[in-house]
Amino acid sequence: MLSQQIVNGIMIGSVYALTAMGATLIYGILRILDIANAGAYAVGAYAGWYMYSVTENILLAFVFAMLFTGIIGVLVQKFIYFPIISKPNVIAIVPLITSVGLFTLTGDMLRLIFGPNVKNMNMTFKINAVEIGNVRISAEWIFIVLLTATLFFVLWFILNKTKLGLAWRATAADTEIAKTMGVNVHISMALSYVLGYGFAAAAGTMVGVLYNSIYPTMGDIPSYKMLAIIVLGGLGNPLGTVVAGIVIGLSETLVSAYFGSIMPRDVIAFVVLIIVLLVKPSGLVTRKNT
């Protein structure tokens, strides 16, 4: 059973990492704890669901979800976040409250448009589950792990290997000076939101497929769990996010399998977080410096 549980844990962990990837990116670049990213996750799931129910094509559903939500992301950053963070002397809580407002807004908008009841994709993967010894991994899960790995790699590559990534980090450090170096902050931030919200949408759609249920409040739990994950991962660090997601997935699974119901599942993430941070206040993975 242990090996199966470890596999379960890693799988769940990849869902968490996937879910938190967009928020990690946005935090890494803009230092905004963007709770509304969980709203994008739900919006993305609905967009994916809509496309799938019209076309029955899952690939199209993914692309549409990411594009649609990414565009919303651009609008949101252009008309809301950007003006806010470019004001002088705004405190860090302001964007956070904004994102809470946005999150409330999107959740309820979804409820009004689509109703409070669950929607489903009823999509079955044609591929069979893989069995290795007595460990069983379903096709959906393999797909999730691949998706997480891909997004992680894309993000890692952009952040560390491209000029855009450098510009993002510089903008986070000092927007004013970044501008004078030639960074068009409108474009670079818009891009960060396209990706940040696009990733969230991919996660939302994927989770919608996985659990076969899409509903307006589906972002509620990710909204805070992803905060725990990005902080545990060392804030704004994609590798950290993957590691943290898996650590949390594993902890939850193993606790639930071997200790039963000693605490609510969602709390495990925070218990792990608090313990890790007390020992290592800068998170699991920190950027190397000399």
């Binding site: 059973m1 799988m11 009841n117 489903n120 069983r136 076969n212 509620d220 119901s261």
Partner: protein, 391 residues
Amino acid sequence: ASEQPAEEPPAEEPQAEEPQAEEPPAEEEPKEPIRIGFFAPLTGPAAADGLSTSNSAELAVEIINESGGIDGRPVELVSYDDGLDTKQAVSIAQRLTTRDDVVAVVSGSYSGPTRVAAPIFQDAGIPMISGYAIHPDVTDSGDFIFSQSFPGQVQGKAGGVVAVDMLDAKRISIIAVDIDFGKTLAAAFKDYVVPKGAEIVSEDYFGMGDSEFAPIVTKLKDEIKPDLIYMANYYGHGAEIVRQLKSQGFDVQVLGTEGIDSYQFFEIAGEDAEGVMITTNMNRDSEDQATQEYIKTYTEKFGIVPDMVGASVYDAFQVLFKAIGEVGTDPELIRDTIKDLKGFKTVTGELIEYAPTREAIKPVQIQIIEDGAYHYYEEIDDLEIITPEPR
């Protein structure tokens, strides 16, 4: 569907159109409406249940008004959204009792809001019937407070009957949601099955928002190997559990509760739902005309199939209509009438009477899922089992 603003007066036309037998011709002024309060979580995490109940409330009022109201007086619904927040429930209760001039109230909400509102109605001397709140303290608030569903304790016991007496389960695993609903049901279930010689081989509790059950299912499949799983949880959880069972290839009898009595359970679980049994209060295969009529009109009007919470709230209204029809709008008389109500037909079966704790005594339905729908399996009407124990 509940775009209707909270206090919009109900449509008045039906009254004019319907030929009204016992009434003198239509020259008379329209009579003062009877106002009935209602609250439910229309926003927030429980919005789906809120919608079901408010649909039912609307439907109940519409139907009674179409048939000429009560005593010729139209019924007006004063409906509020509590957002599943106790603070709001308190203000709503205050508003209903001091401003809105309602003669009685139905709660379409969960235990928390219903529980905090109850003492306010009690103090104001206005009867409240809770549709489906399970918390035992709700009716403890006083003699004006009733519960339309059987208490968790009864349903848990009934689940026990199904598990050990009907299905002869020996090794049972419990998976329950960690709120009053799941805890109460699981406890009552245990209390019944353990003395009967069944063994509870595992108990797992999880949070309301949880959707990941692979670890539990793996554990049950590889290690515990129960011959029955008792699920005291809601449709989202239940559906995911049966899907996981299927995906991990674990074939075991699942017994659920009214929590998964919702069409949404099939929506999510699809074929994996087949064979699952539940304890609930509505018999979908009932020959009772009112029940079939309710299912039909509800489905036509709202485009979705009614569920247990909706049906319970609908019944709560039927009880109130009946009482008001008999004794008018005096709250104390209404209370007394409800208290003495016996053998009243509702869409969730016959309401035998209210227990001294003012919780409904009615048969428990056992339904089984076959061909993507709930069907009759058995009914438990043994009074020993369905009468709540005094507290």
